[in-house]
Amino acid sequence: MAVTRRDFLKTGVAGTAAMTLLGFDSKPVLAQTAALKISRTTETRSTCPYCSVSCGVIIHTIGDKAKNVTPQVVHVEGDPDHPINRGTLCPKGASLQQDIANPRRLLKPQVRRPGATKWEDISWDQAIDEIARATKKTRDATFMEKDANGKTVNRCEGIAFSGGCTDTNEFNWLVVKTMRSMGVCYLENQARV
């Protein structure tokens, strides 16, 4: 096919258009490009764990897929496309990023003794030991085998358990199994979403 001068004018420049910038000096732009610190962010849709409204969120994770780099959550945004919240979040939901990455997260058990004003660090072994003793003591003291009408109830009224919204499904399963096996009725694991 013969290429006419007219066609050449239309197609000839197309290939290099990105680099010629209409003939403007591309050197300063290329220099700027070379110096750019580029970061790669992915966006993941999820559901806010806190309450039963179940607002949609978008989790922003930074990381360049390199093997030696741990991806880091940098922002949690209300999902603007979600029909329930249309981008809005309550103050708790808006602070979700700190639920995922937080330098103040406790990494070991702590205890505040009766009458004390400060929390003290204790070992895991000691914590489990103390919790087991207190649980046994309370359960033995308050366990009710039969109610006032002589009906078998096998319940432990001296213990209550309160969970947290950000507990995992697996953790909640264990909580229910453990508490029910001890006869605990006052059980709230906050697993509504």
Partner: protein
């Protein structure tokens, strides 16, 4: 009616021109381009002021004809003569020599194709057709069938994406490369190939270029340049896009192709 398009036509173009002048002072690398773009934007404002009232019963592209648009080529050539790089001046000279029939041909190409045709030679037709098309996009009827990701008024491909504040998040909309119409579009979805896998839809941003990023699709290797109005409400998308052309060059170096070209880069 496009979201955020309630302001007067002339004021809109003037605001873009002012933003170009403002950014020219801030972005050393693109300063020269932005100063030139400011003059082009003012010229486009004048063209927009003369655009005939749009009909509400005919599709946008059918309302445009080359005869309306060719009279604006000479003022554009004059503006280019007053200050533009040699290559563009040479091209303007050559296009001017070829006469109105050739101009009409270039305009027809721009009007007919959903994707802006590449090449410096189309710069003239795109500059002159844009204000007409934008004026019409505000009143033209929505097309009954458009492809996913394409403009609902003219079926053109999106040149830009915006994040507009919605609640505490950014609602995405796309901006048409032809008529500058703006329509809402879901986040985490490739407008070109429909990819929905969030692992394949990263965005690339640079510290030095805040409030813009390239929303990339690893499946089709295309990207949409995004201007984040939740991070900078003063941004004028058309202008901020040109000011941050370094990000486009970065994307090109890594083999990503821009979904639709702006006036300055493909």
């Amino acid at each position: 009616m496009t979201p955020g398009a309630q302001v007067g036509v002339a004021a809109q173009w003037e605001r873009r021109a002012q933003r170009a002048e403002e950014l020219a002072g801030q972005h050393a690398a693109t300063s020269e381009i932005l100063q030139f773009y400011a003059r082009i934007l003012r010229l486009q404002g004048e063209i927009a002021a003369h655009a005939p009232p749009a009909k509400t019963d005919a599709p946008l592209r059918l309302q445009l004809n080359a005869a309306q648009i060719t009279p604006y080529f000479p003022p554009l050539f004059a503006a280019i003569d007053r200050g533009a790089p040699t290559e563009l001046r040479r091209m303007a000279h050559e296009v001017r020599e070829r006469g109105e029939d050739y101009w009409a041909e270039l305009i027809a190409d721009v009007i007919q194709k959903p994707e802006p045709p590449g090449g410096t030679v189309y710069f003239f037709a795109r500059v002159c057709a844009q204000p007409f098309a934008e004026a019409i996009a505000r009143t033209a009827p929505r097309l009954e069938h458009t492809r996913q990701g394409a403009c609902p008024w003219c079926d053109g491909w999106p040149m830009l994406a915006l994040w507009r504040p919605e609640g505490d998040g950014g609602k995405r909309s796309l901006v048409c490369s032809f008529c500058l119409g703006e329509w809402e579009f879901r986040r985490i979805l490739c407008p070109w190939c429909g990819e929905e896998d969030e692992k394949k839809l990263p965005r690339y941003s640079a510290e030095d270029l805040p409030a813009v990023h390239a929303a990339v699709c690893e499946t089709c290797r295309k990207y949409v340049k995004t201007v984040d109005l939740t991070a900078n409400g003063l941004a004028e998308p058309l202008v901020d896009d040109v000011a941050t052309v370094a990000l486009d060059l970065w994307a090109a170096q890594y083999g990503y192709q821009r979904l639709a070209a702006n006036l300055f880069v493909a």
